[in-house]
Symmetry: C2
Subunit: 242 residues, 2 copies
């Protein structure tokens, strides 16, 4: 079973303060880039893997989705999502993505934001998602970028000119990484970009787009703290088609 | 026009000493990984973009290719390639990949090793290669990995434990990078992985495999100097299909 860090009270209270949890989708600087990857949602049956508080699930329903199934490992997240939702077309389910089995050929879109780097067996997950989609369906997701995750000590350093610089080592050593984020020992799984893309292709997906999120100049003007994101990508956005 | 560093005498004399130039394909640790991406070559009409001394061109003909056209910007490389080749089915042509136009629907495989990072306009190149291939043809190439190329000072540092660590900055700032390799001021063009893959997809290719070369344990046992390559990928290998 995946580590359920979101039900750790210290983690959860820190996590709840993040702009993207307080403000929802508009608090996530990568959201415009994700939207650009999403197909038209009208009439679509959607599964949201790692739905958290359900911000995206509700937004997708507002865009005309026929139904949204939000899945999350965390009881905290699911109960908060249910509290925020007044919509019969949105349902939430507590489940572990390591073992989840969705019904076959049921969804038109699988969506996931910043969740799959908590999943150890991405190959299994990719095959399961593929089976759950109808032919022609989309699979759009974001993960922490492997450049961001690879190193033993993933934190800013400086180069000879004082420029913010991100260390990379152990890039080809895939597997568990422990990081301190609100609490000590949050477990994530590092995979190379190649491994992630090849797992999708092997599962039967066609890669449609790969984006390594960097803020726009407008975003940096509005929020100068984002400028460091041009130095190294923190997030990988992938769009694939069954 | 692309910088023609290979016809700089100081660069060329240094370059000729590289194991991969002295020993040919077996001197390149990534060669087994490239071979794994190549389709059967029997009867294929192949273009080798940035053929250098023609090591791969000749090997592909030995594997049964019907014909190989080797293209290189460097007069030094092309004349050396011609000298080494006694085969009417292999022809060489001096040309700049920035402006090259190949005949349409003529090749079954386009191959390139460590060349496209010298090309400023990869979108144009990808579209041109796509037109030159027949439907179902393969496009297999290697480039320097953007993790390797991005930083202002791309050279080993150490982390807190003394582990070899590679600096990344300016990752999302695409464009020219100057590096010192045998001579000062070798010009290369940094692109993110996303940009490279999306240019291929936009040109009409389907991505078949993405490999970020890392040496095997056997290769490290034979050549311990390769061990550092597990810390950060130096090369990106891509297989695509028209």
């Amino acid at each position: 079973m995946a580590q359920n860090i979101y039900d750790n009270p210290d983690f959860f209270s820190g996590y709840c303060q993040l702009p993207r949890q307080v403000q929802g989708l508009s608090g996530a600087p990568e959201w415009p880039a994700i939207r650009a990857l999403l197909p038209s949602l009208a009439g679509k049956r959607i599964v949201d893997l790692g739905c958290g508080f359900g911000w995206a699930s509700r937004w997708m329903r507002e865009q005309g989705a026929a139904s949204v199934l939000g899945i999350d490992l965390s009881e905290n997240m699911i109960s908060r999502a249910q509290e925020f939702t007044r919509e019969d077309a949105i349902t939430y389910q507590m489940a572990d993505l390591e073992t989840l089995e969705l019904p076959e050929a049921t969804f038109d879109l699988a969506y996931s934001a910043l969740t799959f780097h908590y999943v150890r067996d991405f190959e299994r997950l990719a095959r399961m998602v593929h089976r759950s989609l109808v032919p022609g369906a989309d699979f759009v997701f974001t993960i922490e970028h492997p450049i961001f995750m690879a190193a033993t000590y993933p934190r800013w350093t400086e180069d000879e000119d004082g420029r913010k610089t991100w260390p990379v080592n152990r890039y080809s050593v895939e597997g568990e990484r422990q990081t301190d984020w609100f609490v000590k020992g949050v477990v994530k799984y590092h995979r190379t970009i190649g491994t992630t893309l090849n797992a999708l292709i092997q599962a039967g997906f066609e890669i449609k787009a790969v984006e390594e999120f960097a803020p726009s100049l407008d975003q940096i003007r509005e929020n100068p703290a984002l400028e460091e994101e041009i130095e190294r990508p923190m997030m990988l956005l992938i769009s694939a088609k069954r």
